[in-house]
């Protein structure tokens, strides 16, 4: 089987020298990862190239303003900042209501670069934070999938995550929002959890808690982690996979994680008091009970153990029922059963439309349509089931976690379009596993054909190098199997193939080519989606007409007008969509903004917008408003202006002030 040293090629006997082969594979993986990082960064730069380096949308402007404040005044002022230029006359405690992860990250990068004498402005750092962290996220995906299934799957999953449109949509250059760093934190936390599960080392458990802390700092979606991990622990216990590694992976995370989560001001005592965290405490108790049971089982004889079981069951059941009754009474006494409004709307998709019209009115909170799945995760949509099956052969702790992750994220993505973002890493991991396994099967059969062939070391070298690569981004490598097919002198007997259970070699190559076509076409789609669909900064609009390209910079011109032609202390009233942009770009005090924490205040503005002029003037006068900002898109056909949003103003206003009734504003069908 060993190939002798008769090669004239530059590559020595790779096939027999395992360490050299591993080293070569390692270097190749490193360069592939580097390329993946570069691709993840550059695919998100379309908006910078097509428009300019500008912050997009609405929420990023708030984050940008906070980062500016942090850069100018330092961290202590940031923690203690009370903002009196929004929600007039109430103000907003910024330090206690913002998730600081994103702003602190960008602020740290800015400070670091400036202290190294690289004078980037705060805006540049903010614009490019998201692409940088998406490169980190794809590397984290590589690490996570490597823990589950090996290096090949890792590289595939990383390449897929770098390109998947759903993630691109929330992390283009300029989309300076929480998800930009939160997805990286999510994947990295899951990677460290799986690593702790696989190695049983407290070191990784500590790192896991710290990564979880970073996730809590970054995004409200951290509740997904603190509910998914207990679910997985429960699954492992129920399927008989309890081990000391599971305990080490979970128990320190709960204690340290709860403490660290309580450190973040915006979470605070919610970390122990809201229902979102109760699952972790419940499973904490359960895992201790299970560990105790295993301990007792280990030191007692089987007969004694049975006695112990009967005793404990009879006594313990009574105690348990009492405790559970108390708990249920406590939880049921609060009207929302302890859950926050947003979490409830995830669990019961109809909740928001019945009780909280503001949450229902946000377009990102609507359920997605079927086409959006194919738009956002493209070919992964049908690779995911294959990946789930691949996770079951064989089933390990890590692969059961991946299955649970994809199942829950598919459900939640079905509730809210915005959560397709959480589905994207899971889909990439499972698809990476599926593709890598399929490639393994086909490459195995090709390789097996060639071991029986004549001692052509060039062929072997080319074959092993292509099997260690396992990457679709490098098309050159896949041409080598075709060359080896031509070089192959004779066909091996089918007997050995059937032992291996593989297909004949030409079929395998054809399958491989077909499989390769999938991600190649998908990458074409991803680049198109990134360039055309997800790169609009929404603050600058363009349109093409017969006389060329028109650029509408109306938003920024309006804010600039406000900035130059009004007093610094003038109050501007508008619908809450434009609040962040007004404070950031026009630097004027606004009445309501995108934070939407005070429904009554928003309803007041909504009532003013829906009332006749005299009544509206009264309301605005009571709020000291001097200017009212209204967006009208009728001249150019801009579809999402205030006229489009008008009925929501009516509904939200009518939710608090009963004299605003929606039927009054609709044309009756009779006239």
């Amino acid at each position: 089987m060993a190939a002798p040293e008769t090669s004239t090629a530059a590559v020595p006997t790779l096939y027999t020298n395992n360490t050299l082969r591993n080293a070569f594979g390692g270097v190749l993986s490193f360069f592939i990862l580097l390329l993946i990082g570069v691709m993840a960064f550059s695919i998100r730069l379309f908006s910078v190239i097509k428009y300019e380096s500008v912050i997009h949308e609405f929420d990023p402007y708030f984050n940008y303003r906070v980062t500016q404040f942090l850069a100018k005044n330092g961290i202590y002022e940031f923690w203690n900042w009370f903002d009196d230029r929004t929600w007039y006359p109430l103000g907003r405690v910024i330090g206690g209501t913002v998730y600081p992860g994103l702003t602190l990250t960008a602020g740290t990068i800015w400070w670091l670069l400036n202290s190294l004498n690289i004078p980037l402005s705060v805006e540049t750092v903010c614009v490019f934070t998201a692409p940088i962290f998406s490169a980190f996220a794809s590397w984290a995906t590589y690490l996570l999938t490597k823990e589950v299934k090996g290096t090949g799957a890792g590289l595939t999953a990383a390449a897929l995550l770098a390109m998947v449109p759903s993630y691109i949509s929330r992390s283009v250059a300029g989309s300076y929002d929480n998800e930009a760093v939160a997805i990286f934190a999510l994947i990295f936390t899951f990677y460290l959890y799986i690593k702790t599960l696989n190695t049983g080392s407290l070191f990784y458990a500590t790192l896991n808690s710290i990564a979880y802390f970073y996730m809590v700092c970054s995004w409200g979606g951290y509740t997904f982690i603190i509910n998914l991990i207990p679910m997985h622990v429960l699954l492992c216990i129920v399927t008989g996979r309890f081990s000391s590694r599971l305990y080490i992976a979970y128990a320190p995370l709960v204690v340290l994680g709860t403490l660290l989560a309580a450190l973040v001001p915006v979470v605070g005592f919610n970390a122990v008091m809201t229902s979102e965290h109760f699952a972790s405490f419940l499973v904490f108790i359960i895992i201790h009970v299970v560990a105790f049971v295993y301990y007792i089982k280990g030191i007692l004889s089987p007969k004694m153990f049975k006695v112990a079981v009967t005793l404990v069951v009879s006594v313990g059941l009574a105690v348990c029922c009492a405790v559970i009754a108390v708990l249920i009474a406590l939880v049921a006494s609060s009207p929302t059963k302890g859950w926050s409004g947003r979490s409830l709307s995830l669990l019961d998709p109809t909740y928001a439309s019945k009780y909280i019209p503001i949450i229902a009115s946000v377009s990102e909170h609507q359920p997605p349509t079927w086409p959006s799945y194919f738009m956002d995760i493209n070919v992964l949509a049908f690779l995911v089931p294959a990946g789930i099956i691949a996770c079951f052969l064989p089933l390990s702790d890590a692969s059961s976690f991946v299955v649970l992750y994809i199942a829950t994220s598919v459900y939640f993505s079905g509730v809210m379009v915005r959560l397709m973002l959480v589905l994207a890493p899971a889909a990439c991991i499972t698809s990476g596993i599926a593709l890598s396994q399929a490639f393994d099967v086909f490459t195995g059969s090709i390789k097996f054909q060639l071991t029986g062939a004549s001692s052509n070391t060039e062929v072997d070298a080319a074959e092993t190098s292509s099997s260690t690569a396992e990457s679709q981004t490098d098309a050159v490598k896949t041409e080598k199997p075709e060359e080896t097919a031509k070089n192959r002198p004779s066909r091996k007997s089918k007997k050995k193939e059937r032992e291996h259970g593989e297909k004949p070699s030409t079929e395998a190559k054809a399958e491989k080519k077909r499989l390769l076509a999938l991600p190649l076409e998908s990458s074409v789609h991803c680049v198109w989606a990134a360039a055309e669909a997800y790169s609009a900064p929404s603050i600058v609009l363009t349109s093409r007409s017969h006389d060329g390209l028109h650029v509408f910079d109306d938003f920024r011109e309006a804010y600039a007008w406000l900035r130059h032609n009004t007093d610094v202390d003038d109050k501007v009233a508008s619908w809450w969509d434009y609040g962040y942009q007004t404070t950031a770009m026009a630097n004027r005090t606004v009445i309501v903004d995108n934070n939407t924490w005070n429904n009554t205040h928003i309803a007041t503005v909504g009532t003013a917008m829906s009332s006749p002029e005299r009544a509206a003037w009264e309301i605005f006068h009571s709020l000291d408003v001097k200017y009212v900002l209204v967006v009208f898109g009728g001249l150019v056909g801009y579809p999402s202006d205030d006229i489009n949003k008008f009925l929501w103003m009516v509904r939200i206003g009518g939710g608090v002030f009963p004299h605003i009734k929606e039927p009054d504003y609709l044309v009756s069908s009779l006239c």
Binding site: S201, L202, T258, Y294, Y295, M304
Partner: protein, 114 residues
Amino acid sequence: MGRTSSTKEDAGALFHSLRSAYAATPVNLKIIDLYVGFAIFTALIQVVYMAMVGSFPFNSFLSGVLSCVGTAVLAGKSNFLSPLFAKDLPPERAFADFVLCNLVLHLVIMNFLG
């Protein structure tokens, strides 16, 4: 009647066998058990104190209780799981990890204590 006396006998035999099995564990692990018991006892005292005095300031209470629970978890794991311990980590590495985790835990607690 016969059933209750037999369950009593069974319970007695059970405690006896538990006690004898536990006495067979090495002294090191019993000392760690004592430490874990002490940590949990301290946590219970804090809970009782909070029930008497009221929960302000809540953050100090939380950090105190969780520090006790945390040290209990970290120390107790090696004893607790002795039947199933995967001995694939060298003990020096395990101890270094334990020290690191305790360090981070107490750093966070100091910060949260207020």
